[in-house]
Assembly symmetry: C2
Homo-oligomer: 185 residues x 2
């Protein structure tokens, strides 16, 4: 069975400012059904950094997240700025700003999406090896971020219990640890 | 460093219908900075099913996804309906509807989120073991879904190359395969 592509026959902006862009599209499916409205969110490209220290720890960040209603552990990272063409460089910048660390080596592990049904932006996974403290954090206004450096074994043990609550971060961590040769599966 | 919780001091609906609810909240951070608007999306609870056959294959679905611009491989699953209180039962229902398969055993592996910064809904990961064909698909209007049953080894080998493009699905697959004793990390 071959799935035929949909065709977009219209789009209109529902709400747009510097933080969010919600569109209502009209799509016609492969079998001719009209889906209107089909909502799309135009988020910027995102980069997540899986950073490992020389003594087998992972550099994580904790910040308050309204959807979780708590301060939770996440991967450092953030938006690829509009002028940035290299997601690895964007990851390096975000990692240093948020954690006050730098790494000896950065490389792209995978390019995924966080919501292919309703968003076209990609999620770039960067592996940073040889991470060590390099200076102070440089946070955006409103950001309050605690840096927590956990043994990789503790991260792996905690994944099933929700230590890292963002499902996409779980995938990024495991793909990057495999790329680093730290785990096999 | 302890991250202080934020307080929500206001909320207003930007756009709401049966498919999407975009809110603009006002939040005050732990250090007193006012973030207004902070956008939140009220999506329903989601369940993803990692289904394994007796001959070590995974039951996946392929459908067109506008954000990817292509028909992509994903986990079966979908929304937990408003009247459903058990995400495992919802996963069982979605799995059977989308794939025309049933499984001998279903259990909850993990409860994650897909976007804790901007959405409060959870993403329930269900492991289904002993999956076999059971009948016809029962699809919603507009759904066109191909069922593809791949060797687990092929899924694992393809993850880094984007075989499964949704980052949250990658995390769900790996947590479920570990829960099933199929991989260790």
């Amino acid at each position: 069975m071959t799935i035929r592509p949909w065709r977009r026959t219209g789009t209109r902006t529902v709400h747009q400012d510097r933080w969010v862009h919600l569109r209502a599209d009209c799509w016609v499916t492969g079998e001719g059904k009209v889906l209107d409205p089909w909502y799309m969110l135009d988020w910027p490209e995102i980069v997540h950094v899986v950073a490992l220290t020389p003594d087998d720890r992972m550099v994580l960040v904790r910040q308050f997240r309204p959807g979780a209603g708590a301060a939770i552990l996440e991967l450092p990272g953030g938006m690829v700025e509009a002028h940035e063409t290299d997601p690895v460089a964007a990851g390096q910048r975000e990692f240093t700003e948020e954690t006050g660390h730098a790494a000896a080596r950065y490389r792209l592990v995978s390019q995924l999406r966080h919501d292919p049904a309703h968003a076209g932006n990609r999620l770039h996974v960067v592996l940073a090896e040889g991470a060590t403290p390099s200076g102070a954090q440089h946070l955006d206004p409103g950001e309050e971020i605690a840096v927590e450096t956990l043994p990789v074994d503790a991260v792996l043990a905690g994944l099933a219990d929700g230590l890292i609550g963002n499902a996409g971060h779980v995938g990024a961590i495991l793909l990057a640890l495999r790329a680093a040769g730290r785990i096999g599966f």
